[in-house]
Symmetry: C2
Subunit: 251 residues, 2 copies
């Protein structure tokens, strides 16, 4: 089984352990495939061969850019990635944030070109999966195909969530709860968040003004729901915050 590292103490920036031949990256997007019963060792080794570690993007550096020919999807290993569009007038539209273990680039399969930029928010490392190779492999390993289908399907649902006409309070609450859940999925504490992105990025992503994000966070803190210290946010009353986010999250 290889060695297992404890994650609990790492808070600000979760780091994915490297794993080994057997366990692969333990928090990787394909972790569930690799550790699943029935996936033969050879397929797992092929997935290993196929993957390519790419490392040390600095804040602001692009993993891929709008319009580049689509060739691979990326799993975040360390750090946080944002995807965004920049329109002709230079205005930015933030599409999403990706934490360690999550897959970036799935929306590029159809147009066969990346429809957005993927930009590192802090120090970022990723795993690169050549998509043609991955698709070929997944015809032989149903578990991988299934995982890809699930990831794609999940992203459709997530994208639709944000589209509703929700209030600023609902959006912020859902954003924080959602981020916490995603950390928790990978084994990190759900109530001590570090926001790798600026207020402006959050606002842009939630379709609010940066000032509104400031004010709502402030009010949440005054109400005792959260504690804010710069980019560190502690969720003090998860249940009440969830109650605010319910219109978006729970259906």
């Amino acid at each position: 089984m290889g060695y297992v590292t404890s994650h609990g103490r790492v808070i600000p920036n979760p780091i994915v352990d490297d794993g080994d031949e057997q366990a692969f990256c333990s928090t990787c997007a394909f972790g569930s495939v690799c550790t699943a019963r029935g996936v033969d060792k050879i397929a797992l080794r092929e997935l290993h061969c196929l993957v390519e570690h790419v490392g040390n993007y600095r804040p602001g550096e692009a993993i891929f850019r709008t319009g580049e020919r689509f060739g691979a999807i990326y799993a975040v290993r360390q750090g946080t990635v944002k995807t965004r569009l920049v329109d002709i007038e230079g205005r930015e539209l933030v599409l999403g944030f990706y934490l360690p273990g999550e897959l970036v680039g799935l929306n590029a399969i159809h147009p066969e070109a990346y429809p957005c930029d993927a930009v590192a928010l802090d120090t970022v490392e990723v795993c690169r999966f050549s998509f043609p190779a991955l698709a070929t492999l997944s015809t032989r390993v149903p578990g991988i195909q299934q995982e890809l289908f699930r990831r794609l399907s999940k992203d459709i649902g997530n994208a639709a969530l944000l589209a509703g006409d929700y209030s600023a309070d609902e959006r912020l609450a859902a954003f924080l709860i959602g981020l916490g859940r995603r950390y928790a999925e990978r084994g990190f504490p759900a109530e001590a968040l570090h926001l790798a992105m600026s207020r402006g990025d959050i606002a842009n992503y939630l379709r609010l003004a940066a000032e509104t994000v400031s004010r709502v966070l402030r009010r949440f803190q005054d109400q005792g729901l959260i504690r804010v210290d710069g980019r560190d946010v502690a969720i003090a009353r998860p249940a009440e915050l969830f109650e605010l986010a319910r219109p978006i999250l729970q259906r």
Copy 2:
């Protein structure tokens, strides 16, 4: 090649021809797969076996409902389908509209249950594809797998489009242009639209009030961009309408 029907005259409600063993439904979601070089006849026959025609849903009837166990995706053959959520207080949230040839239910793969209702807006016929069977088949027919990946990926992009904070004018313009394009993709005229959905549904989908939809359509007509006759909309100046929609459509 079988016989080819001319579509040009059909305006209000495009009807997909049945096709035959060779051509399958000519406007079907999997048309490109079936007609592609290299797809062997046996695979095509298997796809035929797998599909199940389900017909004559009346307006308001559900093809599937929120929470039902996911078992199949559906291709619209005739009519228009809307997907929607209904929250606890009975408020509706329209997620999308599906025209003949489009696939409904892709967002259900991940949760393994339908995350929304699919409701017929007029007389609707669909093709039912058992998803487990389709996934199995697609391990043997790369073209089908590829097509599924593409469709899923496309839906991610589409869902993200609506999420921006656009004006009512931009939204309506993009909605009309988008609808026209989708008709055109299936061989129907792009400038003579019949809206199967009510103003309320459009407004809900675009996150506007029904009154706003009325007013904007009225103004578009006054400006000579479109001609509105109840649920029939003719796009008089496609280029200018596109110009309005550019912030959403063109990137």
